[in-house]
Assembly symmetry: C2
Homo-oligomer: 228 residues x 2
Amino acid sequence: MRPPASIPVPRRPGRPANQPGNDHRDRLLDAATALFARQGAAATSLTQIARAVELTPAMVHYYFRTRDQLLDAVVDERIGPLIERVTGPALDNGAEAQGAVEMIVGLARRMLQTAEQAPWFPPLWIREIVSDGGLLRERMLQRFALPRGQVIVTRIAAAQARGEINPALEPRMVFVSVLALTLLPLATASIWRRLPEPGHLDTDALARHVSALLTSGLGTPPTERDSS
Amino acid sequence: MRPPASIPVPRRPGRPANQPGNDHRDRLLDAATALFARQGAAATSLTQIARAVELTPAMVHYYFRTRDQLLDAVVDERIGPLIERVTGPALDNGAEAQGAVEMIVGLARRMLQTAEQAPWFPPLWIREIVSDGGLLRERMLQRFALPRGQVIVTRIAAAQARGEINPALEPRMVFVSVLALTLLPLATASIWRRLPEPGHLDTDALARHVSALLTSGLGTPPTERDSS
């Protein structure tokens, strides 16, 4: 495929690099991500993506070749770095030293902070990962969610064996509960803000709520702690 | 509109009654609900609904007249009774007597039990209520979620004032957290069952996990309880 006129050829197509041409590629990727979050990947045409940033559909084809490669790029270059910011500090070598409850509360806090900076993520997560038939689900699971989830689940089970985490909890469900408690409220903020209660409910308020619920909810109940 | 031949005219169109014709109406409503859950309401044609139960599109028109009336019927006659089973026991007059933590844990347990008997509900909830643009969202909010949510939020705030519930929690978010902790894991069961951990994870295991997390997570922390 020949590049459209006036677009410099990137040295490594499909890879970000600090070249002028990649500004177009980045803008197309941002537009695709935003449109997928707003209306779903299946309902988004390459023409719509190009139009959103005033480029031509030929440019989308040039930078991403196929629809599948565009979906790969959204997962690897937009969702991937976000997952790394959230889970990295919990999975680093030094992270073993921190308590398991702190590790999980930290995951929840970073998920909320990160999603506040990337407001497209919660709706994209609902549409394309949580919903059956979501076009990003399998990519997300294979590349990020299952491998990282496994490490976190193993660490939670070990913390239960040490008596750090309530043994009545299911290690797999702890990880799912953290995602549910953070991403679902963000994706539905426009709904629950209509519940009449005094006081503005922002992400900080949500972070305090989730931290309080998880800190008390995950720890070993006092009776079991006393008898150990 | 004239009824299709051989279908008895229901005395009150649009209302269920024990008449032979309502068997067709019920089957159409079940088929519509199942298809909306599986592929979304926007992607489901009246012809598909009719075909699913081997009836004609004319029957769908006869019983429901417009697409909006069909959506109303799904909300009022399929989702409504389910919401009543889940929230009714928490909102009854006698329910004030039970502790607030038990009230909330009871909501979570009944949500899990009810959704197990109506496996179409969690995916329908994700697609048509949680997702932006979901076609059942506004109907659900106006008829069930906001009025009932308000009563539950008020009750949680009162329980916090009495020292029964951790004051660090946000009353509005408690209600959202219960929905998140129950419906999201059910809607994504096919995903997290792939996390390798010994032991089958069924709805009972999920119920034990959620009860344990909420029972410890909602109660007033021991230090605050001691000093009161």
